[in-house]
């Protein structure tokens, strides 16, 4: 083989491999877009009502732009094909834009950096370092990531930050310096299981995606079932699901005709299981189907159809918006309408979380006297006490506790002709979950429902 032939042969080899790589890259991108579908988002619960609250309500000086030195804040959210929590960061950014246009915080505008990550620990650690050492952020608000709490927790602790976010992994609820406005997978699953137990089911089949912390998540539902002497069987599935039919059959068989199936999946995966159950006629083979909060989306209600009305019960960790006419709901929608061009999912649970984070942070920052430093800002966050946001069942307190589960009262919604509607109002997650009991003991408060809508 001469040199030219060798080169040709070599090029052909490279060409073949490169074409294979291109095809594979395209396939991967295709898969990703399929996964993203409705995006793992609980993001499509639009309300019909026009905002009646002016955005000037988000600041103390309506219509006056803040001109002082900026208060730098940042947050880190997961944004990757199939899993996108970035609406939490972009909604917080929208809220701060609104604040900046209406006098700012004691005259200071907020400069907010909503960073996104792709569940990569080194990237997440780098972003935290960037926010602190390069951007000089003095507070962390609106973080929501699959692993961020675990990865960055010791760093935030070392740097003196008290994070205000929307958690997912266990460390978001079990450390002194991170607090979440949402309930997260464990306590939200608790809520779904508690509803099933209150329906007097004889057995529970609890299924969730196989992600870090599954044993921790299952700990709550198992404690609740045990306390009621109801047998519970735990399952985990590797996602993306390869055979939703077999999962649906397995769960229906495990629960039995007087039992309940409770799911803890993102909407696309939960929908696969529920649609498989519907196709196989399993929806009536068990007494009740339940799901943790990600299923609280009208997208799911629309996709499932009327067969599931009153059959499928979903935990809602923030105030359901359908029919909510409170001032907070109005302000939330007004801000999204005017400043939320980057909030891709629009009205929904994730943007509610971002709104609530930013609202609580703004309230805390207004109490700071003097310079906005890491010390003063995080002391203000830590001092948040009994703040009533219309987005939650109960008042919000940060406090000096070794763990934080401030949102431990939930709602339950059910599909009703393409919408998720409220079926059960504020209900305390039972203290038989040892983590809830431990938190209530630390906080020294029994849960108390608050009337929604006072806002900031």
């Amino acid at each position: 083989m001469n040199r030219r032939e060798q080169r040709r042969s070599s090029r052909a080899g490279v060409a073949g491999a490169a074409v294979a790589v291109l095809v594979a890259v395209s396939a991967a991108a295709g898969c990703s877009s399929l996964n993203s579908g409705s995006g793992g988002k609980a993001a499509s619960a639009p309300t019909a009502s026009t905002p009646t609250v002016s955005t000037s309500k988000c600041g103390t000086k309506p219509g006056v732009k803040a001109t002082g030195s900026p208060i730098v804040l940042g947050g880190i959210t997961t944004k990757e094909p199939g899993t996108d929590f970035s609406d939490i960061g972009t909604t917080a950014a929208a809220y701060f834009d609104c604040v900046n246009d209406n006098g700012g915080i004691n005259g200071h505008p907020v400069k907010y950096y909503p960073e996104t990550e792709q569940t990569n620990p080194s990237q997440i650690a780098s972003l935290a370092h960037q926010l602190v050492s390069t951007d000089h952020a003095v507070g962390i608000v609106g973080s929501s990531s699959i692993i961020e709490c675990s990865v960055d927790n010791s760093y935030w602790k070392k740097e003196g930050f008290y994070v205000l976010g929307a958690g997912i992994d266990p460390e978001c609820w079990s450390t002194p310096n991170t607090i979440s406005v949402n309930m997260g997978p464990r306590y939200s699953s608790d809520g779904a299981v508690a509803h099933a137990l209150n329906s007097h089911v004889s057995k529970i089949a609890f299924d969730q995606s196989n992600v870090p912390g599954t044993t921790y998540i299952a700990g709550g539902p198992n404690a609740l079932a045990k306390a009621k002497h109801v047998p519970i069987q735990d399952f985990t599935e590797n996602v993306p699901l390869t055979s939703a039919n077999s999962v649906a059959i397995k769960l229906a068989n495990a629960a039995g005709p007087s039992g309940a199936v409770v799911l803890n999946f993102t909407p696309p995966e939960a929908l696969l299981i529920l649609q498989a159950a519907q196709k196989l006629g399993l929806e009536d083979k068990v007494k009740e189907w339940g799901c943790s909060t990600p299923c609280n989306t009208d997208f799911l209600a629309k996709a499932l159809g009327p067969k599931w009305n009153g059959k499928f019960f979903v935990n809602a960790e923030l105030t359901p918006l359908n029919g909510d006419t409170s001032q907070t709901a109005g302000l939330y929608q007004a801000i999204l309408a005017k400043y939320g061009k980057n909030v891709t999912g629009g009205v929904g649970s994730f943007s509610q979380m971002g709104f609530t984070d930013a609202e609580i942070a703004t309230h805390a920052l207004e109490t700071v006297k003097g310079a906005y430093t890491v010390k003063s800002v995080n002391a203000a966050f830590k001092n948040i006490k009994n703040y009533v946001s219309g987005m939650q069942c109960q008042a919000f307190t940060y406090g000096n506790y070794s763990e934080h589960i401030p949102n431990n009262m939930d709602y339950t919604v059910t599909p009703d002709n393409g919408k998720m509607v409220l079926t059960q109002g504020c209900t305390a997650i039972p203290s038989v979950d040892p983590q809830i009991a431990a938190y209530r003991k630390l906080a020294g408060t029994a849960p108390q429902a608050s009337s929604s809508g006072s806002g900031s």
Partner: protein
């Protein structure tokens, strides 16, 4: 190539003396030395923590791309399973670092050896395959490792074989060497380990195995006819690539300090091969460029506010560019382009285009 050429290439002929270093070689060595000194001593004080972390990942992934470069560029084995091998190295490193108090370098070597054995064994059946079929089989193997990994999870300080305890609410961090606890120190540590791994591979390339791999890559039947044990040398390449990737995995465990199965999606295997082809699979410099493309470019884009989703498009276009204009990758194309530009600037008449391709 004749049979005698193959024997000579494989080192079975008369011993050859290394040619004396010419001016280009001395220049190259000087440039590499200066760059390494800069990387080790000048960069850490001026880099932000963000870029210190990023450069640590570049150093680690340079080892991974180096291993894949050996397979693709030297032996012609297109493997899409290298991220699975990295996962095994990271898992082994994390498990050993949690379970034992052994010195970090010992753990690196142990992780490399364990990965070498497992990585070689799982790819053994694929030795009879080449090209697209090999890529497909190795991708399936990577998928299998991902499924196993998702089932047993990464060690998080728990007990038993897996070292995973799913009920933990506080995950302890994977320890780093006592001399490299800070991020800047760990970056230097990673660069030094990378230099050692590059040295190891360079030694292989300049001695008998390197010549054997070159012969196999050019024509396996001819290499067989020349008396080369091609299976043995291909296994050697797989073992070497798995060893260095395993070391990189353990190094990654120390860098990230917490590992999750979702950190190693199959898609990374495809992107890794894409960047190796873009960087240049035929040269050691290509491995460094590939690592920059794989780790530094996303960090840079992130800093500029460009969504990381765009990377898949950039890499797709990059592979297309390599396919059409520069089969030996950026490592080969860039010096040529610089020379061409220099000639244009100095208005020297261009010489006939030099042949590109494998070095």
């Amino acid at each position: 190539m004749t049979v005698t050429d193959h024997r000579r290439a494989a080192g079975t002929g008369a011993p050859r003396r290394l040619p004396p270093l010419g001016r280009p070689a001395i220049t190259r060595i000087s440039v590499i030395t200066v760059l390494l000194l800069l990387a080790l001593f000048a960069l850490p004080p001026v880099m932000s923590l963000y870029y210190t972390d990023t450069m640590t990942q570049v150093a680690i992934y340079a080892i991974v791309t180096l291993g894949l470069g050996v397979l693709v560029g030297r032996v012609g084995l297109f493997s899409l399973g290298q991220v699975a091998v990295l996962t095994i190295g990271a898992w082994t490193g994390a498990r050993l670092l949690f379970a034992t108090g052994q010195p970090f370098p010992v753990v690196l070597i142990e992780a490399g050896l364990v990965t070498m054995v497992i990585g070689t064994l799982i790819t053994l059946p694929a030795l009879r395959l080449r090209g697209l079929y090999l890529a497909l089989i190795t991708l399936m193997l990577a998928g299998a490792v991902t499924v196993i990994e998702a089932t047993i999870n990464f060690p998080n300080g728990g007990g038993g074989f897996s070292g995973y305890d799913g009920s933990l609410t506080h995950i302890p961090q994977i320890r780093r060497p006592s001399i490299a606890v800070s991020d800047a120190a760990y970056y230097r540590y990673a660069v030094i380990v990378a230099i050692i791994m590059f040295g190891l591979v360079y030694l292989h390339l300049k001695t008998r195995p390197g010549r054997a791999w070159a012969a196999i890559k050019q024509s396996e039947p001819a290499a067989l006819a020349a008396g080369l044990n091609t299976t043995f040398y291909k296994l050697w390449a797989l073992a070497l690539a798995s060893f260095v990737t395993g070391v990189a995995g353990a190094l990654l465990a120390g860098a990230d300090q917490e590992l999750f199965s979702i950190d190693f999606p199959i898609q990374n295997s495809i992107e890794l091969l894409a960047v190796v082809l873009m960087g240049g699979a035929y040269s050691i410099t290509g491995a460094v460029i590939a690592a920059f493309l794989f780790q530094f470019l996303p960090a840079l884009l992130q800093n500029w506010g460009v969504p990381n989703d765009w990377l898949i498009i950039i890499f797709g276009l990059g592979v297309l560019q390599v396919l059409t204009t520069a089969p030996a990758g950026i490592a080969d194309q860039m010096p040529r382009d610089i020379r061409r530009l220099w000639r244009r600037v100095t208005r020297k008449p261009a010489r006939p285009a030099a042949e590109g391709g494998a070095k």
